[in-house]
Symmetry: C3
Subunit: 350 residues, 3 copies
């Protein structure tokens, strides 16, 4: 598959712009990108995964981005990068076409008189902006965004569509939020009332804090981030959240941490910087994770982690028939361990 | 519980329409459906699960749908089907009342001048339709749907309410999408930039592909389907997704595959045809699943599966007290296996 | 962190209102709340977790809520409560500022002529209210709520923003629903059609039931609750659901049960009263859980539970290197158990 646009760049221009070493005809011009297998002469491809090395020699791409070690196999013009995947990410951004976002407020939007909206912002159809909200320069609110009372959206942030900031939410600059995300909803705090004339029931703990999200963060589709009970829920800068992630109240996430889809962090947990949380992994409440901790997919973190490294839980997938036999045995694991010790003891006393 | 409507059908009409064998008074007429226990003389019930056989003789239903083997126990008129559950599904559809969907564009909708909307389509309140979008014949967009630039909705598809197609999304015909679903959001692609004057940080990989969804697919409430990085994310025809499912970029799902709620498939995984993915099950990225693979609930698929069959992971539920003892032993399972082998070796050398 | 408001209360007023015992100057007045560490003389703090006892003596809070045993350490005025967390929850509610909700229907809302909306209700921007819907006294619908045909919202309920009630949904009184929640979407019911001229394919089972939600329930952000196939899906009173929970069709949840984020309950399961379902825990379809059952986070309930108590599944988190060795051994657990038994048998025959 390939993508072409109306803008184009020469090999020499790309090399200069991104600090890469060019090989071949400096005037070769590309107007888009594609996979090694599909790219044509006006497109740029890249080789990052050695699994695809065999495709390099036959690629029809006008320019390829490769490591120095693959240069010999390039059929035409090439850009050499220490990290071709990273270099490609930067180059491909030149060819991304974002939906049009006309400056100004769409007539169907509902903006409170006390809200302050930058004249360079784009406010899409059916947006609702509450009292005392602040919308910074160059912000794009796609259709159906709701910005609650007193929320702030930092300059050049983009809320793609149908994003809800409930109340007391502050976004930094260049924050990107995908549709369906809800930020600043009530934390889940309940006190149990055993007594009184009524039957025992729950009493809601008011959620009086807010949410602070740092510069350059990204929040995926249908992800939810609750506001704090008293302190704020915090994402430091450059935190990257995939879709359908749940961040509970008073969670603190360090800078540059990334979480894959369906991960969940319970209340008051503190995640370090440069952590990687795998898909559908969970972190229990009030735990702390050090910097540079990696949690593999679907693992549950049940205790604080003080050392960087990779951590896992779970058991491997099997055909269901043998799995059922093994799983049934798990319920007796403690007994097996005792029986094993008993046998060893007997042997040693023989 | 029962459902009644203003339309009605006789035993003979139902037998003819659905190719079933009728027993009893051909003129018995029903205007709705109900459970065996609750249905009255103007309603149709069914027996699919042998657990409820005892209710059959006492049922007040005007017509019952049964297997031939249960015919003797029917108190009145009956339709005989090889698969009563399937036959009932088809008959009950006659009595489903969908919300009214007047043809035309609601005055509160915002439709780009370059969009092409069929004259037989129904566009609900507050819908937003972007540039070059195409809305086919008989399509129903319920309230608050957002159809991004260049997206296509195939004929007779129904987006119930508040569905977002972000960009480069193509839906086939008769696709049904439930509220809160987000299709075509950015895939979660990041390159890590270690160097430069800034601290190490993430660089977003542009997501230049789209999403293609085949005919007769169904997408559940709050489900998310990301668009591809270069290639498209694809659902072939008749794929059925329940609520809160996450489909990452470049995933490919074969025809007739069904996934239960909260399942998640990571990037570039390829799922075969006629697969069944259980609730909250996960599939890691870049894996392949053959046709007719079943994954049980909450299992994590960590390697490709080349043979049809049923696969599982996980351990059984127990009371927490014994569970904690067994779980603690799991951390020493490798040591136990070695100790067991050592004992066996000793014995063989006796 | 602290919260202050324009309303204030004296120690004596709070003691009387909440039935607590006051110690110190009855005229001390607070206008907000804060943590023990941050609260100032015009704010109220509390001590519920003994971990923070050391902060009590140094707290600058005007009033603290404590257990009798901590009274001696209080530096100033105090309220004595058997459960300070509960007492604080009730007091803090006095200082919660909800977003303004003007009575009446916002001009951008779309209300069907046959809908009945109380004159004391507040209907926010872009709300859509369908035929025969009923909106009770004092109800607040925040922006972008969709109330489908025939749905009822009981008195004093609050739908914060962007909540969708699809069809045949009845909410009790004082129900609180957070943004992105979808209630009354189609249950996931499919019959498999093997025969006929077409290839084998799915046939949708019409979902003809509804959803009934009792008084004082709370539903979290992006949570989904499907309507029943024939019977209704039911939440009794005071059920508390966190974010991103999935409740499938025909589930029945007993009063006062609470579920943490990302929990999921499959079709026709019946959960008792006063249950606690942990984060990302799952319950398979058609199971029954007794009253007062607790399920720990990420556990999967695979069989009915007839006795109150706490139940778990899963294995503990480890560093990935030793975990991989242990996990690999799990696939042979049945064999190990047999080998262990064989060794024991040999020993007994020696």
């Amino acid at each position: 598959m390939t993508v072409s646009t109306t803008t184009s760049y020469t090999l020499a221009e790309l090399a200069e712009r991104f600090g890469l070493v060019a090989h071949g005809d400096a005037g070769v011009r590309v107007d888009g990108v594609g996979t090694l297998a599909a790219a044509g002469p006006s497109q740029l491809g890249f080789l990052a995964n050695s699994k695809y090395t065999a495709q390099l020699a036959a690629s029809g791409a006008g320019i390829v981005v490769v490591r120095a070690e693959n240069l010999a196999d390039c059929p035409g013009a090439a850009l050499v990068a220490a990290d071709p995947y990273l270099a490609y990410a930067k180059i491909a951004a030149l060819f991304e076409r974002l939906p049009a976002a006309p400056v100004g407020i769409h007539p169907s939007a509902v903006v409170a008189p006390t809200a302050r909206v930058s004249q360079s912002a784009s406010i899409g159809p059916c947006c609702v902006i509450g009292d005392d909200a602040v919308i910074g320069d160059g912000v794009v609110l796609g259709p159906h965004c709701i910005i609650g009372d007193g929320c702030t959206v930092g300059a050049h942030s983009r809320l793609v569509a149908r994003v809800t900031l409930v109340v007391r939410v502050t976004l930094g600059q260049r924050v990107l939020i995908h549709p369906g995300a809800v930020i600043g909803s009530d934390g889940f705090g309940l006190a149990f009332d055993r007594g009184g004339p009524d039957p025992a029931h729950w009493v809601k703990m008011p959620q009086l804090g807010g949410v602070r999200i740092g510069d350059d963060c990204e929040v995926g589709a249908n992800t939810t981030i609750d506001r704090g009970a008293l302190e704020d829920t915090v994402l430091e800068e450059d935190v990257r959240l995939d879709n359908q992630i749940q961040i509970a109240h008073n969670v603190y996430v360090g800078a540059h941490t990334a979480m894959a889809g369906c991960a969940a962090v319970a209340g008051s947990a503190k995640i370090g910087r440069y952590c990687m949380i795998g898909g559908n992994a969970g972190v229990l409440g009030h735990l702390e994770l050090a910097d540079r901790v990696t949690i593999t997919a679907k693992s549950l973190v049940t205790h604080s982690i003080h050392e960087p490294g990779e951590y896992s839980s779970g058991v491997p997938l099997q055909e269901s028939r043998p799995w059922r036999k093994n799983a049934a045995r798990f319920k007796h694991l403690d007994a097996y361990a005792r029986r094993l010790s008993a046998l060893e003891k007997d042997k040693n006393h023989e």
